[in-house]
Amino acid sequence: MSRRAKTAVYGVLCLLALPFLFPTWWMLTSSVKPVNEVFAFPPTLWPDTFSLDAYREAFTLQPFARQYFNSMYIAALVTVGTLAVSAMAGYAFARIRFRGANVLFLVVLTGLLIPSEVTIVPLFQMFHGWGMVDTHWPLILVPVLGAPSVLATFIMRQFFLALPYELEEAGRVDGLGRFALFRRIALPLARPALGAVAIFTFLHSWNLYLEPIVFLSSAEKFTLPQALTQFVDAYGGPMWDVQLSAASMTALPVLAVFVIAQRQFIEGLAHTGVKG
């Protein structure tokens, strides 16, 4: 490529990168500005004075630590649960011959076409009937067993389909049963696919917004996305400084993990996606 073409490509990339980097930059720097500087116009790109007041306020205005824990443990449970359910189902649909496997796979797959927004009204009524409104059960049970795990099952099935049969034959000769074949041979080989499923399942749960605001009503049960929007003044207007510091605390850990492990993140997602 010629020198001029190269410069042009870099120029376009830098320009396009602006809206991707600027908001995160803005969020992090504004969160450590004192409140009067947050609203300074024209805005400052780097804080003149550092202040952690907004961070302190986030914890006093709401049970923010508790809400943080809620989001963490729900996302962790959903991830582990989804991995178990989808790895088993994906393995069975790919490797075990049983009557009706194809039909049942198609039946499960239609779940992909039914976004949870479509079923939110009856789901609310069902969980209401079971006394589970304002608990975390709907946020755990529906993603693990319902429509969101179907995509995970699909990805796991695609992966297991590509696994050579000889690997299992050796285990069979050694007298391993079905579960042992799955647990000791297939599952350890499936780490890349499991990794990709774990990443997008965690992010999905971490980002959930409609479900928490429909199902949860008491502040100490809230998850992070829901809590972020609750930092409002007496007139319902957002308290920007507190919202930005709370948003930073929500975004930063995941962002840090991503930057450290970005290759595994991106390539894992890309390759499982392409196979599907």
Partner: protein, 297 residues
């Protein structure tokens, strides 16, 4: 001699059913039952306060047709989806092609463009809401170059554009990565052959690249179209459907009707409409694949 009952094949049948049991039971309980209930509820008038649940036949569907806001809601939904899908796929493909040029620093840019995908959705939306205020960061930057920016989220035309752009920047990295992987799978020999035939770069892109990655284009467009119809948090945080009803997309309207106004029956009717639209668009895209998706076999 009696053959043992638990033959290898019988065992496998049982194992198969046990392995899929959680997924299958879960689908019945949390997907198909609520889907059937959605249809059932849509045939009822449901008064939460008076605790009455009366069969009204197709009244809710008549109300849907007579709803003066339905036109606006569908227009907003269509505008959002078309804008999002076109902008997202074009930008994703452009970024993927740029990053596929084997230049130094592409890993860095790939990380940058992908990073919003891992930022919490509501956190991302809040920051943009802050930036897009009348006296926010975006207008501050514009002022620095001498442009007087509009009040992005409070004016009819710009509110929709803002919501679309915020969402595209958030998620385009995912499609970019899928396109990038597909581009890397195109054999270099095809480009060499095309160069020998004297094809320009644009011609190569149209006649080699696009057909070769068309399965990925189909996959990403289906995912993006379905995803665009589910947008909720961004609208709820940025515009609350406004100004007026200009950004009230179907899911947001459904949420308002069911959970703010407690019209559960009508909310279910809107759910049925949403389901019909998702189904229709997915089937249409799947059928169109025969026309333009290239398969090696």
């Amino acid at each position: 001699m009696k053959r043992p009952f638990w033959t290898g094949s019988r065992r496998d049948h049982l194992a198969g059913y046990l392995f899929i049991a959680p997924q299958l039971i879960g689908s019945v309980l949390f997907v198909f039952t609520p889907l059937a209930l959605t249809a059932w509820y849509s045939l009822h008038e449901w008064n939460v306060l008076a605790d009455t649940f009366t069969f009204t036949g197709t009244d809710n569907y008549q109300a849907l047709l007579d709803d003066p806001r339905l036109g606006d809601v569908l227009a907003a939904t269509g505008l959002f989806s078309v804008g999002l899908v076109v902008l997202n796929l074009t930008l994703a493909l452009l970024l993927a092609v740029l990053l596929n040029q084997r230049l130094r620093g592409t890993t860095f840019f790939r990380t940058v463009f992908f990073s919003p995908v891992v930022v919490s959705l509501v956190a991302w939306t809040i920051v943009w809401g802050f930036l897009l205020q009348d006296d926010g960061g975006v207008n501050g930057l514009l002022k620095a170059v001498g442009v007087d920016g509009p009040n992005w989220l409070r004016e009819g035309g710009t509110a929709m554009v803002s919501v679309i752009v915020v969402q595209v920047v958030k998620n385009v990295g995912l499609n970019m990565v899928l396109f990038l992987a597909a581009l890397q799978g195109v054999p270099g020999s095809l480009y060499e052959a095309a160069t020998v035939d004297g094809a320009s770069r644009w011609r190569q892109f149209r006649s080699v690249t696009v057909p070769m990655i068309s399965p990925t284009i189909l996959l990403t467009s289906i995912i993006t179209v379905v995803g665009s119809l589910q947008v909720f948090a961004q609208i709820a945080v940025l515009t609350q459907g406004g100004p007026g009803t200009s950004t009230t997309v179907l899911v947001y309207y459904l949420y308002q009707q069911a959970f703010q106004f407690h019209h559960f029956g009508y909310g279910a009717t809107l759910s049925v409409l949403l389901f019909a639209i998702v189904l229709l668009l997915t089937v249409a895209q799947w059928r169109m694949r025969r026309k333009w998706v290239f398969h090696e076999s």
